[in-house]
């Protein structure tokens, strides 16, 4: 199958699936599925950053929170449609990530990871103390100062589905572009890539900003569906843990892996909920699954499954699949 044909099939197939199911499913189910799509989206972003870019950020929850709060602040105070802000806020977060990235890239490897986590904590603390953001009490979504008419979950779910597909197709195109080639080269050796003429720092910054914008888009979509946002929720480390769990279980550095990982995460979580297991037990089960999977299949589920199904023709096909 040619590359473009595969992309088209992805868009039409999953696009129509998400539109049709948005018409058929109950609103509780739609809410859950929207969250699933958002987690898959966030995982793709963490995977892009850490799996392809080698930047293991422990602070991506900051961008989720920024996306959510950005949406609330601008929608509540502007009078412009919420949908506009769902598009604009992630772009603004992507731009705002640039100076943060320039600062954080002064830190190397593990220090970068921890630095990002600290930055996220600082941001959460600032939000929690800011009057205009409702402090620890949070904000209610009131576009233009009025409460939202009707429930948006159908269209939100379809929107999240389309965004996820757009993201996957976009990532495929990106990884097949000259920029993607630079990224894949950097993954095998930054000094070698630099010596081949790649502007390593600029490429890293660009990926950092894209991942920030993607996480913000996920946050904006998710908190649109909740109609309420609070700092302890929006900036919580659980966002990060979900992203990492899903990427690592599914297969870091592959595009299909995080999708598979999301399915596992949600299946386990919903089973735990229906069995009445509480937060603590739930995380112990999750941790056990993660460790067990990685002991048996160190590269994650998808690479193992794929080698059973068929052998990729090239190493590049393997990395992009």
């Amino acid at each position: 199958m040619t590359f473009k044909y595969a992309n088209l099939l992805l868009i039409i197939g999953f696009g129509s699936l998400s539109v049709v199911s948005s018409l058929l499913l109950s609103s509780g189910m739609l809410f859950l599925l929207t969250e699933v799509l958002v987690i898959a989206l966030l995982a793709q972003m963490w995977n892009l950053l850490a799996g392809y870019g080698g930047m293991v950020s422990l602070g991506q929850q900051a961008f989720v929170g920024l996306g959510g709060y950005g949406l609330y602040v601008f929608a509540n105070h502007s009078g412009l449609p919420v949908w506009l802000w769902i598009v604009v806020v992630p772009l603004m977060v992507g731009v705002a990530a640039l100076p943060l990235g320039m600062l954080m890239f002064k830190l190397k490897s593990a220090y970068f990871s921890v630095g990002m986590w600290v930055a996220a904590e600082i941001l959460a603390a600032i939000v929690m103390r800011t009057d205009a953001l409702g402090q620890s009490g949070g904000l209610v979504l009131r576009p233009g100062g009025e409460s939202l008419a009707g429930n948006p979950e159908r269209i939100l779910f379809a929107g999240a589905g389309l965004l996820l597909i757009g993201t996957i197709v976009g990532l495929r195109v990106l990884l097949n572009s000259d920029l993607g080639l630079a990224l894949l080269a950097m993954r095998d050796g930054e000094e070698a890539a630099e010596a081949a003429g790649v502007n390593v720092r600029r490429t890293n910054l660009l990926i950092f900003c894209i991942a920030a914008a993607g996480c913000a888009a996920g946050g904006a979509l998710y908190y649109f569906s909740t109609l309420y946002i609070a700092p302890t929720d929006a900036f919580q480390i659980n966002w990060l843990i979900s992203m990492m769990f899903v990427s690592v279980i599914g297969g870091v550095g592959t595009l299909t892996g995080p999708l598979l990982g999301t399915a596992v995460l949600i299946a386990v979580r919903e089973t735990c909920t229906s069995l009445g297991l509480t937060g603590g037990t739930y995380w112990i089960i999750m941790g056990t699954i993660a460790i067990a999977t990685l002991l048996i299949l160190p590269r994650g589920l998808w690479p193992a499954l794929r080698s059973k199904l068929h052998v990729p023709k090239t190493e590049k096909e393997a990395t992009i699949g």
Binding site: L181, A185, R187, D188, A195, G197, N199, E315, K316
Partner: protein, 240 residues
């Protein structure tokens, strides 16, 4: 075209480059020899920008490039084949060459594809274009490292022991490649193999303990007693 003025670099107090001044003219082919640890790789690293000097200046076509990062110097026309091949092990051989063709030489579209094919042909890698670089043997990896350097279309090509560790017939093929590649560009070739340097270079630099000891016409430097002195203790067959 490439010039250093008194560049020095120490690693934890031990000088790896000590007040080195040299200049390289367009099209000139210079050999560099010296015992292990003499600072030859460090010198090439300083020229490419992967090592930053403590003191001194590096000029490319009269412009100060001392503080420029490697990718900027690559755009300016400097390229290096590293002593330990730095290939992209998960990418195919042709993608390995495409990285410098696109990002180093700045080629796009058809032009890039054709140039990659040409470089692969030139370096004897056309048959393994689709193989992942990590699966190559030593000779092919050395060829690929050379191919990556050449793909940036450099004016100055720095070669760091590209023939080391190979058998004599393999060395012959590398010599032949370097001769082909040196067409129209300056070359600085670090190597311990005298017959390889002799067949390509008209000038020879000798380094020891970070210092440039000798620099001049090949035959002249080769017969200098100082060179024999530096290599005392090294078996004779290594030198002749």
């Amino acid at each position: 075209m490439l010039k250093t003025v008194g560049i020095s670099k120490s690693f934890s107090g031990v000088p790896a480059a000590d007040d080195v001044s040299l200049s390289l003219q367009a099209g000139e082919r210079v050999g560099v020899i010296g015992p292990n640890g003499a600072g030859k790789s460090t010198l090439l690293g300083l020229l490419l920008g992967t090592v930053l000097p403590d003191r001194g200046q590096i000029l490319l076509d009269g412009d100060d490039v001392t503080r420029l990062s490697p990718h900027q110097r690559v755009s300016g026309g400097i390229a290096r084949a590293a002593q330990i091949p730095m290939t992209f092990h998960r990418l195919s051989v042709s993608d390995n060459v495409r990285v410098p063709a696109v990002h180093g030489a700045g080629l796009r579209g058809r032009e890039a594809v054709e140039w990659v094919d040409e470089v692969l042909e030139m370096c004897g890698l056309a048959a393994s274009a689709k193989v992942a670089a990590g699966q190559l043997g030593l000779l092919s990896r050395k060829r690929l490292e050379l191919a990556k350097a050449i793909a940036t279309r450099p004016k100055v090509l720095l070669l760091d022991e590209v023939a080391a560790g190979l058998t004599e017939p393999e060395i012959e093929t590398i010599i032949h490649m370097v001769e082909t590649l040196s067409e129209g560009r300056a070359i600085m070739w670090v190597e311990h193999i005298p017959f390889a340097l002799r067949s390509v270079c008209e000038r020879l630099i000798v380094m020891d303990k970070g210092r440039k000891i000798l620099d001049g016409p090949f035959a002249h430097v080769w017969d200098d007693p100082v060179l024999q002195e530096i290599y005392m203790g090294v078996p004779d067959d290594n030198l002749s």
